[in-house]
């Protein structure tokens, strides 16, 4: 079971990482609080950002949960997911382009924006190999019937999405609150690093690890 602990840690760690990344939206919560001149707006904005992130994660994980019915094809599914993650990482690394349609989303629709960003930048996709690892660990624990297996996998997907988004919310929330309350807006420019290449590389790395372990029983 030490494998599962590592995977759950990855679910939480990626959530924290997404949360502290300004590109995922916490500065918008600070902006909301300053614009409306009340701290409550900060939490409302954060809730919208987290809801969008959660929805994106679920939207990506659920189809894979359904695919887990195809027990015969598990290796191929894992390989496919790994290749997808690697491809997205490579695309981000090579193009370095930000999808322009994201700039069309009005600032009042933070949940939609957060949903689209998590999809476009592969934040949700990155969880797929981790999630499939968790499913496998669950399946290895006992030989359940297909129906139970799928139900179990849907449950795992929901828990992964919730845990990940909760981690994101707490990291982004802590930072937004600290900037609003103590650190000031100057912290935004001091702490914002261009991690796009690191991000792309981490997608590729997760994909490669998944690929390497895909065939193992």
């Amino acid at each position: 079971m030490e494998g599962t602990a590592g995977l759950w840690l990855a679910v939480v760690a990626s959530g924290l990482y997404h949360g502290v990344n300004p590109g995922m939206g916490w500065p918008l919560a600070v902006s909301a609080a300053l614009m409306e001149r009340r701290a409550g707006a900060l939490w409302r904005a954060l809730a919208a950002l987290a809801a969008g992130h959660l929805a994106a994660t679920l939207a990506i994980l659920m189809p894979f949960a359904a695919l887990s019915l195809l027990i015969e094809w598990q290796v191929e599914i894992r390989v496919g997911a790994a290749v997808l993650v690697i491809a997205l990482g490579a695309w981000i690394l090579v193009t370095k382009r930000h999808p322009r349609f994201l700039a069309r989303v009005p600032p009042s629709r933070l949940a939609l924006w957060s949903f689209l960003v998590a999809l476009a930048h592969g934040a949700a996709l990155m969880l797929v190999p981790i999630y499939l690892g968790l499913c496998r660990a669950g399946a290895d624990a006992g030989h359940a019937a297909a129906g139970d297996l799928m139900g179990g996998n849907l449950g795992i997907a929901a828990v992964v999405a919730v845990v990940h988004s909760a981690a994101m919310l707490s990291a982004g929330g802590a930072l937004a609150w600290a900037v609003h309350r103590w650190l000031g807006l100057g912290f935004l420019t001091r702490s914002w690093f261009d991690l796009e290449r690191v991000w792309a590389a981490s997608l590729i790395l997760v994909g490669l690890i998944a690929l390497a372990t895909a065939g193992h029983r």
Binding site: L28, H98, A103, R104, L185, T189, D194
Partner: protein, 466 residues
């Protein structure tokens, strides 16, 4: 490649005011008759430098007849919103449109005062083909890239379809296409600006190309055919949501200056001339209850003059109109500077109460009749025109040319391009710096000024100053 956001991007206007002062200014030079190529002058504005007040470098264009007018940066503080996805752009390129040729130059100014050079040239055909617009004017960097307003539509004289705004890619500088999805009644264009977090844009109207390219058309002015409306847009939906007519006698609603602090839902606009009484006026517009409103909040009277002292265009009126041709708002939203190009005056209004601007300072230099000399002893041709304020609000710079053919109507003969500077007192007030008088090479006039690291008419802030 930069690992952190450009140090000249500021989350709020307040933080921008605390930044180090500018050391360089970039000023456009134009050849009024197209006999020489236009250029960009790099001016040393560092009082500690031996070259203070001098042009230290010129970038001269490869073409003639562009007529430079307004210009702007490829990137500004607006990049600091996560919504744009452009936090790691550099403020490095000046986007310089030719208002007569429709050609656009991208000038790379990275690497010190003498390193400025042409990075890319966008030919007029690309602008025409991809947008159906012509005569590009105001530049602002925003959520979807670089926004460029235009004064003309398609066709030779720019009247085939209305003018509008188009968008350029902020990295490749490719022209992407038209901005508007629903322009409503908008059929003329001049300036535009916005409030990014509140997601609205405001645009104004000058006139169509036949009304300005060969000079002001007196019959059109006296029959109130120049622009006199403000248009309010849903910025991201690209939709005109409201149009306010200031009244047909309020001819030429030009510069739009929203409050820099995005919490504030108001701004200003300058009107060149009221055809009923030759006044210039300042209008305050604001949003309340989901609707926009506009009200005339300051007027500047014409000054009586003898017909003999006036150019042919004005002889019949026996007065000099102030001609409010540019306005600019300091980053603390406190002082609004108003150029009176006709009377030769730069006014400073305290607009702490935006509905009641209070005259706080004034200097005279140039002017059709007054022709006030600069305190340094040199004569200042034309009148105060394009005005730019330092980020900290302590220095105000301006040049003196309006537009080649209009200069010649109001100020016949060649009066020389110039750029001057005034210092702002603690509680307001303006004093011309007698040691700062930039002369431009022979045959050149001067137009808009941009300051190193941003100024008071480029950057859009995504976070309040609170």
């Amino acid at each position: 490649m930069t690992l952190r956001p450009d140090p000249t991007f500021y989350p709020s206007a307040k933080l921008a005011m605390q930044a180090p002062p500018e050391r360089l200014a970039y000023t456009l030079m134009l050849s009024p008759d197209g006999s020489q190529p236009d250029g960009l002058a790099v001016v040393d504005v560092d009082p500690g430098s031996t070259d203070y007040g001098r042009i230290v470098h010129q970038v001269i264009m490869p073409h003639k007849g562009d007529e430079f007018h307004h210009f702007g940066w490829n990137a500004c503080s607006s990049a600091l919103s996560p919504l744009t996805g452009h936090a790691f752009l550099e403020r490095r390129y000046l986007i310089v449109p030719g208002i007569r040729s429709s050609r656009i130059y991208v000038i790379d100014v990275k690497g010190g005062p003498k390193a400025a050079k042409i990075h890319k040239v966008i030919e007029p055909e690309e602008v025409f083909a991809k947008t159906g617009y012509s005569r590009p004017h105001t530049i602002h960097c925003g959520p979807e890239g670089i926004y460029v307003s235009t004064l003309g539509g398609g066709g030779k004289d720019g009247t085939d379809g209305p003018p509008g705004i188009f968008i350029m890619d902020c990295e490749s500088f490719d022209v992407i296409g038209r901005y508007e999805i629903d322009r409503g009644p908008q059929d003329k264009q001049y300036d535009f600006w916005w409030n990014l977090p509140r997601d609205y844009m405001v645009s104004s109207e000058w006139g169509l190309p036949p009304q300005f390219e060969n000079g002001l058309v007196p019959e059109d002015l006296l029959s109130n055919k120049y622009g006199h409306r403000l248009h309010f847009w849903n910025l991201r939906e690209r939709k005109n949501v409201q149009t306010i007519d200031l009244g047909a006698n309020h001819q030429m609603a030009l510069e739009v200056r929203p409050a820099h602090d995005p919490v504030k839902e108001y701004g200003f606009c300058g009107v060149v001339v009221d055809t009923t009484n030759l006044e210039g006026s300042i209008w305050t517009w604001w949003r309340e209850g989901g609707k926009f409103h506009a009200k005339k909040t300051a007027t500047i009277p014409p000054e009586p003059a003898k017909a003999d002292d006036l150019p042919p265009l004005l002889k019949g009126f026996e007065a000099v109109p102030p001609l409010v041709t540019d306005i600019d708002l300091s980053l603390d939203d406190r002082f609004l500077y108003v150029s009176c190009w006709g009377t030769g005056e730069m006014r400073q209004y305290d607009v702490s109460d935006p509905m009641n601007p209070r005259l706080a300072g004034s200097v005279h230099v140039g002017g059709i009749v007054r022709q006030a000399a600069h305190p340094g002893g040199k004569s200042f041709g034309y009148g105060p025109q394009m005005v730019e304020i330092s980020r900290d609000g302590k220095r105000v710079y301006w040049t003196n040319s309006l537009y080649s053919t209009w200069d010649d109507q109001f100020y016949p003969g060649d009066r020389g391009g110039a750029m001057v500077k005034a210092d702002v007192g603690e509680g307001g007030g303006l004093t011309l710096d007698k040691d700062f008088f930039v002369e431009f090479p022979k045959g050149y006039r001067s137009h808009q000024i941009r300051l190193e690291g941003g100024d008071c008419s480029t950057d859009s802030f995504c976070y309040p100053s609170a």
